[in-house]
Amino acid sequence: MTDSPQTVRLIIDDREIAVPEGTTILAAARQAGIDIPVICHHQATTAQGNCRICVVDVNGRRLLQPACSVVCQDGMVVETRSERVVRSRRTILEMLSASVDLSEAPDIQSLLDDYQADTARFPEAARRRYPLYDDNPFYVRDYSKCVLCWRCVQMCGVDAQYTFALTLAGRGFHTHVSTAFEAPMLETVCVFCGQCVGVCPTNALKPKIEYSLEQGQFFDKRSE
């Protein structure tokens, strides 16, 4: 198949758009300068459709569709900010901010503003709190800040490194990123390539140097 790809035509937010076959709604929208928010999506990792912040209305289908992975088809009519799209995005953001420490996730912070999410919407909500893992010289892991985008696990595994030091563990709300039996990182197969740290959107994974500087530790030791 050396044919040039077919062109498909669709409408996104009242704008007619033509893209090559196989283009996702997200890519088509970006190309037209229409902004669709994402959290889990990253160019380096396989889209899994986890966060659902990118959902859009397509042809009045009952279910909202994740723009990061649904491919454009001829004649599609997409609405990226319908009432129920906005409600879903806002509710997801409100539930997320009630569960996770987003203080070092600037992109998600600006989504909270954009969607007028009420970060106090869910009083008495359980938060996911985990101890901070400071168990190796290269990076620290603060899973109280983890939104479960899966990117670090994907980079450690089949999307890049094939090291498999990390996995998802547990289920449902209590899902978390872990090593085998929560072993300290130095006791795992981790090769400290740093790719996981590079794709983390929330600073749950942070270089040790940066963390030490924040804590004032680095300078304390040297200034003696």
Binding site: N50, L64, I92, L96, A125, T188
Partner: protein, 566 residues
């Protein structure tokens, strides 16, 4: 029976050279022998099957029946979902824990027992139900649980099957039919001698059969798509993961008519061009699993399965697989992941199973009851099948009735029968005054007493905003606190959400928190529940999240006073 003193190496010897899909069977081997899966065991499996340790740990931590910490000699699983909740399950759990001086999830100081709270065990007609896994032995069901002492002693007692209804097409009788009684696979023989695969598919299409697993997809169409898929090989999968609270009809089919299920799978294989099938049974159905093992051996010995079946050109064999406690693994793509030895995460669709299913190959996956229904269609024809039911709900249908009726059990009905007649004539009537019926299980919707004249068909139930779903009918009389039922449903989804997508992972937790305080709601809770429910229903990745608020939302519509509108 594995012996607890057997070494890891000996246990894993049969697994050397096997592939990743042997992971769940290997973990079961270890879990059964040792009562838990230790880091040492994970290391040994990692070497044997060449799977990273972290991934094995991820799998162990996904399934409720696998334990990471040492357990007692006996692990007692006590169901506290709605049907058992009505029959005193909470008292039972409390009493068992008090007797041992422990909390749910803990092990008694003498190492004798571990008590765990469990999701629906599919024994709702015998509520309250429990299950016992004794180290080194198979899991056993105990239902109904008589008293705590006998339960802790591991005394299973008899568990009579209750079946009834208008007709006996799928069901035969209370006793298990093994091959001598079931007879040769007459429908399969008929197909092999007289019908080409295409004719089998068109007969199933003409019959109007739709899937009995909950989604009501036309079975013939699914088979045609799979047959037409160019990639090879093709697979047949029987979905026997039945975990929808209040649903136990597949268990009764598996336990009483195992050969009907196997024959249905063989017919599907013949139609779609498959030579290999998997029958995936939930881990909580040990009796069904053993019956299937025996039936499978019988069928293989009689050349009803295997190579060149009954002297024909057609070869087909079946592997049994057990799940390990995860409702989500009934979702078809999560089920494939489980067979492949992974965490049971649903995949995004498309691609659909008919083009990329098990091991990425074209797969026809069907519910137990769907496959059972096919046998009659092939043997007697589509017209015979259509004599039962309505245009859109053809054939007979099994319903699982639990809760406040005189005779809970599995009933075979002809669609068109009203819910009222089912309850009053066949189930011996409601005990007490009817308050509500939950149709379709935890993922279903509530009906009020003035709605029970609805005809039990897919179309009639849909027309009143309800669902047939998996055919679960849970009956609640006036003594029931509906908020308590909602709490149990919300807890079920919070416990069973796989956690992959944000709306359901977060929404099932938030929904539970709000439902738990329904007796003293905060201002705005009604709107919170509505926004959570709509977001889960519209934006979740799979059917679990898309229905996790269905019962709560329907209760709020019908009894807004439950949460005090603000």
């Amino acid at each position: 029976m594995p012996d607890a003193t057997v070494t890891l190496d000996a246990l894993l010897a049969p697994y050397v050279e096997l592939q990743r899909d042997a992971l769940l069977p290997a973990l079961w081997e270890i879990q059964t022998a040792y009562g838990y899966i230790s880091p040492l065991a994970v290391r040994a499996i990692s070497r044997t099957l060449r799977i990273p340790e972290a991934e094995i740990y991820g799998v162990v931590s996904f399934y409720s029946m696998f334990h990471q910490e040492p357990t007692g000699q006996q692990v007692v699983h006590i169901c506290t979902d709605p049907a058992c909740g009505l029959k005193g399950a909470d008292d039972l759990l409390r009493a068992a824990c008090a007797r041992l001086g422990i909390q749910p999830g803990e092990t008694s100081p003498d190492g004798g027992h571990t008590i765990v709270r469990s999701s629906c065990l599919g024994l709702c007609e015998h509520a309250p139900a429990a299950q016992i896994s004794r180290r080194g032995a198979d899991v056993r069901s105990v239902a109904p649980v008589g008293d705590v002492d006998r339960l802790l002693a591991g005394d299973a007692g008899p568990r009579p099957t209750v079946i009834g209804g208008e007709v006996r097409v799928l069901l035969a009788g209370e006793q298990c039919q093994m091959l001598d009684e079931y007879g040769d696979y007459a429908a399969l023989r008929h197909a092999l001698q007289h019908l080409d695969p295409d004719r089998v598919i068109s007969e199933v299409e003409k019959s109007g059969l739709v899937g009995r697993g909950g989604a009501a997809f036309p079975t013939g169409q699914k088979w045609r798509f799979t047959r037409q898929a160019s990639e090879q090989p093709h697979y047949v999968v029987c979905n026997a993961d039945e975990s929808e609270p209040g649903t136990f009809k597949d268990r009764v089919l598996l336990e009483t008519r195992p050969h009907l299920v196997l024959e249905g799978m063989a017919l599907c294989a013949y139609a779609i061009g498959a030579s290999k099938g998997y029958l995936f049974v939930r881990g909580e159905y040990p009796e069904a699993y053993r019956t299937l093992q025996d039936a499978l051996a019988e069928a293989q010995a009689a050349n009803l399965l295997g190579k060149r079946i009954m002297g024909s050109e057609f070869s087909f064999d079946i592997e049994l697989r057990r799940s390990a406690g995860a409702y989500i693994c009934g979702e078809e793509t999560a089920l494939f992941e489980a067979i492949e030895g992974k965490r049971g995460y649903p995949r995004m669709k498309p691609p659909f199973p008919t083009s990329q299913g098990l091991f990425g190959k074209p797969t026809a996956i069907n519910n137990v009851e769907t496959l059972c229904a096919v046998t009659g269609i092939v043997r007697y024809g589509a017209d015979w099948f259509r004599q039962f039911g309505t245009e859109k709900s053809s054939g007979t249908k099994l319903v699982s009735v639990s809760g406040h009726v005189q005779r809970p059990g599995v009933y075979e009905i002809v669609p068109g029968l009203t819910l009222r007649r089912l309850l009053e004539e066949y189930c011996g009537g409601v005990t007490g005054t009817l308050q509500a019926v939950l149709m379709g299980g935890a993922a279903g919707t509530f009906l009020k007493p003035d709605e029970i004249d609805v005809r039990l068909t897919f179309e009639d139930l849909q027309a009143i905003g309800g669902t047939f779903g998996s055919g679960a009918v849970m009956v609640f009389n006036e003594t029931v606190d509906l908020r308590d039922v909602l709490r149990r449903l919300a807890r079920f989804f919070q416990h069973e959400s796989c956690g992959k997508c944000f709306p359901c992972q977060l929404g099932t937790q938030r929904q539970l928190e709000i439902v738990e305080r329904m007796d003293r709601p905060l201002s705005g809770d009604y709107e919170r529940l509505r926004d959570i429910g709509l977001t889960m229903s519209e934006a979740s990745l799979c059917g679990l999240g898309q229905t996790a608020a269905a019962a709560v939302l329907s209760a709020l519509r019908k009894w807004p006073e439950l949460v005090g509108t603000s």
